[in-house]
Amino acid sequence: MSAVAINPPRIGDVAARPDALSLVYQRLMMIMLVFAGVTLLVIFRLAFLQLFTDRTGASEIGNPLIPPRADIVDRNGVALARTIDAWSIAIHPNRLLSNPDELAEKLAQLMPEKSADQYRAILKSGKSFAFLSRRAVPELVQAVNALGEPAVEFSREPERLYPQTGLAAHVLGWTSMEGKGVAGMEKVLDSRLTEPGLRGTPVALAIDARVQAALESELAAAMAKFSAIGAAGVVMDIRTGEVVALTSLPQLNPNSPGRGMLEAGFNRATLGVYELGSTFKPFTVAMAMDAGIIKSFGQMYNCPRALPVGGRFTITDTHPFGRACSVAEIMKESSNIGTAQIAAQVGSQRQQAFLRQMGFMEPVSIELNERGRTLTPGANWGDIATMTVGYGHGIAVTPLHLATGYATLFNGGIWRPATLLKVGPGHQVPAGHRVFTEETSRRMRALLRLVVTDGTGRKADAPGYRIGGKTGTAEKIVGGRYTGAAVVTTFAGVFPMDAPRYVIVAMLDDPKATADTYGFHTAGWNVAPVVSRVVSRVGALLGVAPDPAREVDMSEVLPYVHREAEH
């Protein structure tokens, strides 16, 4: 308007006035529309934000409860492996403010795993980042923080923790710093444990932590007592093939897997193969029974003091009979000579077929990757090999093979693979295949019970639990030849023998004789007591109530045992 007033001559321009006015109106309208549009846009945006923004943040907060790697628990839900947030301590050497020499001294005091010189080298390296400690405990973090160096950085990172420390370490395996499974079930189940949809649900193993602990502590005690270099043990459900406990000693701490790995990392139960000696004899007898060779435990064999075989090698016994003896006696006194004759009757072909059916010719069937190849006579499986294999020499298998074999022999004759995963809705018992007849399986009970009540395995008996089993002492091959000095002693047993439920195998690698054992280092002296103690500790936990009033029907074997005391 003022412009109009200043410029009067234009006012007179009547023809141009309406145009100018409409132009102004148009421009005003445009501006108003723009303002309205922007305002509406802002309002809509606000409304949108108000309505559709989820400010609870549930999508982000819901996740922290799901660990980055699923837990592993035992069959009763006891945590065996968990992922926790651990502290890591790092430093930025290029941003260091304090004196590197002083700081290195203090760090070496707090974290003695590296020397002061090593810390000094890190601090003076001028790098932008270096870890000082990972998996640090909160106390250490607090102490390092108190040093007041701003270049030190603390952060949380997921860490795999094994709360039971060394318990079942060879079953669980361990993970790398990056959180990848590198051994044991951690490796086998790696994809399952990290699968986003399943991370929240823990994986249940077949292991029972209590049984595992009892087996480990008793084996460790025996190992220390007899100065053995190693030990292995397996407890297995004979009906489902679930491995309730599996251990290999010396123990390993998966929380710090780098230390002592060379010896302890070796899984003697599934990776180590051993000639397991006389524990094979029941298989030979069962094969002969299935083949119709042995019809009664009273069947007699000539058992001289030594049996020359093939002209260059002689089979001997630790308890030589020097007379004719029955099958029951052969088993009771663990006679190599008698068993070799039975094996010879079974024959090489049949023996191989049986062993193949029991999985003794290939690595043991279990989820673990650490499985050893068995050693068999192979192409040289002649008569002599058949005889030695009959009593457990010349064939090397893992203790878990043996446990699977005993499970097969006593569960009615059905072979099933061993499993470390709990049998349940998602994991059914495999059908397996028949190896021995049910009748053979039933009759073998009394024979192995006899070994424990009257024979070489007397020290394995646990009152009321009706253990039956077989001892085995095999000489180790040192430098390519057998030596009597080093042995592997094994006990393979089943309890309760009147209605078999669990098989237990315990093995000591190179036990020495002690004063307690009167200079013997055979299985009946060192490893059989372990079985007795383990079974007394875990029998009730596994649902086997001890009952002194129950006993296996021994009428099939006792009449055929020559009793010294009666004469």
């Binding site: 609870t56 907060i61 922290p64 409860l65 926790i84 709360p163 595992q212 002194p548």
Partner: protein, 272 residues
């Protein structure tokens, strides 16, 4: 007119007020939501804490650690087969009832019945000595009369007169059971020495076999000895209302402690 002039202002105020109200509601909702989110994050934090604490507890109480504690300190061992109970009957056999107060009371009473050793304690007393002097040459014992008055204050017994004869001659009363009337308590038990002695008052009381009398002190008044025939001296304690105990006894006698018969009469329990 004025209203029309302010119409726009009123509109603006109304709309502004409404908008403000809406905004307030929205703000309130936002605050509530923020609170909810806070609570939820607290729940999450608590769950994480629970998990980490469970992990810590599981690690500290790991089985190998428990096993070590057991071997170092507790020394517990696996139960033997004898410690397992097979069935209900075996379980019931294990039950051993703790004795109740009533049982204990009963026990005490039974014990006391056995303990009340009245017979034993009185053992020395029943020296129911025959009143007949062994030697015929002995002089006849003096017969005394003991009068017993319950209500009386205990009066010291009058000194018994010294026997004329030497003390060695013991008077022997007959067995009191013989004629029933005498609770031999009041009977003199032993001959006194030559010197007279005060008789003890309590003796006769029990002898009277009269419960009321037993509770009270009584005086046994040895009466002056009377000459008696040679026949055994008779000690009589009459339980008359008067409660006068008449004892015929040797002069030398002094009242003896209650005899067996006397104490037994009220019964063990009463005695206690």
């Amino acid at each position: 007119m004025i209203a029309r002039g302010f119409k726009s202002v009123i509109w603006v105020a109304t709309v502004g007020g409404a908008a403000l109200c809406c905004y307030m509601v929205s703000l309130r909702v936002a605050t509530e939501r923020a609170d909810l989110a806070k609570v939820e994050s607290q729940i999450i934090a608590a769950k994480r804490d629970i998990r980490s604490l469970q992990t810590e507890l599981g690690t500290r109480g790991r089985l190998t650690q428990l096993d070590q504690w057991n071997s170092d300190v507790l020394a517990l061992s696996a139960p033997t087969s004898a410690q397992f109970v097979k069935d209900d009957v075996a379980l019931a056999r294990l039950e051993r009832r703790d004795s109740t107060v009533a049982d204990q009371a009963q026990n005490v009473r039974m014990a006391s019945a056995e303990v009340a050793p009245a017979p034993q304690r009185a053992q020395p007393a029943p020296r129911v000595l025959p009143a007949i002097a062994p030697a015929p040459a002995a002089p006849p014992p003096m017969v005394r009369r003991a009068s017993y008055t319950p209500g009386d204050v205990a009066v010291p017994a009058r000194p018994a007169r010294a026997p004329d004869k030497p003390a060695s001659i013991a008077p022997r009363p007959t067995k009191p059971g013989k004629d029933e009337m005498a609770a031999a308590a009041a009977k003199p038990a032993k001959p006194t020495p030559a010197k007279p002695r005060p008789a003890k008052p309590t003796a006769v009381v029990a002898a009277a076999a009269a419960p009321p009398a037993a509770a009270k002190p009584a005086t046994a008044k040895p009466s002056p000895a009377k000459p008696a025939p040679l026949k055994p001296a008779l000690v009589t304690a009459a339980a008359e209302p008067r409660r006068t105990a008449t004892a015929v006894k040797p002069a030398t006698a002094k009242p003896a402690p209650p005899s067996r018969t006397a104490t037994r009469a009220p019964g063990g329990e009463a005695h206690r």
